[in-house]
């Protein structure tokens, strides 16, 4: 009965494919069953005989060399693919950098053009104001007169400096517009030179980050800064030092 149980598994046993538990059980059976042991021996003998007989043919040295050469050649051909990758490693970032540079150039150029446009417009406003028969709507050298005048006319307020003892004098002020944004224009005078100080809400202006600093716009000297959410522009034909000095007074007042 035990032999019949194992007979179907003798091939699996001799091929080493039996599960460990079954293998141990069959081995125990083989120790007590001569018939099954001889059967397994026959199978193992046949396996060894086929193993030995099966290793019959050897390839020629010529075929070996030919295939080795083909494989090596193909591998060598594929090796340049590593170089291709090497090129890609250099080429792709270079292209990316080029695109980035072009994009940056375009962006900076666009920003620069916008900046030029803003200062040109401010210069126009300055010239037009001085050329006007009524350059200012509120004529006063008193900041306590000028500042309240803007209340209700512009959506913000600002501080103005006391100017006693300085070379600067306040002529007056008017409401102006830059890029459809209402703002204040103050006219100061220093040694017969008029300086316009424009004040606008910072957030309402285009590209505010590039507006700061001194700019030579149409030969006018300028200064620009932000303070309390407001963008200030000082522009006039006075010297750069005068523009800077007035800007400092205004900053200190803010």
């Amino acid at each position: 009965m035990a032999c019949e149980q194992w007979r179907g598994k003798l091939d699996l046993y001799s091929d080493g494919e039996l599960a460990p538990a079954d293998e141990a059980a069959l081995r125990a059976h083989l120790n007590s069953c001569a018939a099954c042991a001889v059967d397994v021996l026959d199978r193992v003998q046949l396996k060894h005989a086929v193993h030995a007989a099966g290793k019959r043919y050897e390839p020629s040295a010529q075929l070996r060399a030919q295939i080795a050469k083909t494989v090596a050649k193909t591998t060598a051909k594929k090796a340049p693919s590593a170089n291709v990758w090497g090129w890609r490693i250099i080429f792709v970032p270079a292209v990316v950098m080029l695109i980035f540079a072009l994009a940056l150039n375009f962006y900076v150029g666009r920003e620069h053009a916008g900046r030029e446009r803003v200062y040109s417009e401010l210069a126009d406003l300055h010239v037009a104001t001085l050329a006007s028969a009524t350059p200012v709507d509120v004529i006063s050298s008193d900041k306590h007169t000028v500042k309240p005048w803007f209340q209700g006319k512009i959506p913000f307020t600002f501080n103005l400096p006391d100017l006693p003892g300085s070379e600067f004098s306040l002529i007056g002020g008017r409401v102006t517009y830059l890029e459809q944004t209402p703002g204040a224009q103050l006219i100061y005078r220093v040694r017969k030179h008029e300086i316009s100080v424009f004040i606008f809400p910072e957030h309402a202006l285009p590209m505010p980050s590039l507006l700061a600093g001194p700019v030579n716009a149409l030969s006018f000297n300028t200064e620009s800064w932000t303070q309390n959410g407001l963008r200030y522009f000082a522009l006039g034909d006075a010297s750069a030092d005068d523009i800077r000095a007035l800007s400092k007074l205004l900053r200190d007042a803010g």
């Binding site: 494919e17 001889v38 026959d42 046949l46 086929v50 099966g54 050897e58 591998t75």
Partner: protein
């Protein structure tokens, strides 16, 4: 077997290197040729088959799935190339593995252990050569290449159960041929 296990484990690690195909495939050259020669029964055809196998493997190495058995992959390429060759197209594998097919009945008088003991290497080789190709190839994969049932299943594209039954029938057929040849040799003397 252990050497092959280590070799198989190395397959996935080595694939990424530029020379991995060479490292993996060239050690299989001798055994692939031997297998091809047994299949084709002809030196020139075996050489063509091995060359075709390496050429196809080189082209397809990029699609070889990492972690799978490289040796079984190479043998499968070789076998498929053979089956699509002029000689291979003549091979007929019975659809019903259980169907009896020209398997000689075992001799009644000679015990198998004596039979195998008496058979020399040439006799076994002669009997193997006479086996139907599907029996010969599965015996070679199991006994010569020492593949597991799972590897044979992957190489031949048949279920593990079919591997077992076909192996059993191949051995039975081989024993029958050996007995016939031995008996014939005795009567001939």
């Amino acid at each position: 077997m252990d050497g092959w296990l280590v070799y198989s484990m190395r397959v996935s690690e080595d694939r990424s290197s530029a020379s991995s195909f060479e490292d993996l495939a060239m050690p299989l050259f001798d055994q692939l040729y031997n297998f091809a020669r047994w299949l084709t029964q002809d030196t020139a055809e075996a050489e063509d088959l091995v060359q075709e196998t390496y050429a196809k493997a080189l082209r397809g190495f990029g699609s070889f799935q990492q972690g799978t058995n490289f040796r079984a992959w190479m043998y499968r390429i070789l076998r498929n190339s053979f089956l699509s060759s002029r000689a291979g197209l003549k091979i007929v594998v019975p659809l019903d593995e259980e169907e009896n097919e020209n398997i000689l009945p075992p001799a009644s008088t000679t015990p198998e252990s004596i039979l195998i003991g008496e058979a020399n290497r040439e006799m076994v080789q002669q009997a193997m050569a006479e086996l139907p190709t599907h029996f010969r190839e599965i015996l070679l994969l199991c006994e010569v290449e020492e593949m597991s049932y799972q590897e044979i299943s992957a190489t031949l594209g048949i279920p593990a159960g079919t591997v077992m039954s076909r192996l059993s029938r191949a051995r039975k057929a081989l024993r029958g041929l050996l007995q016939r040849n031995l008996e014939g040799g005795r009567h001939g003397v």
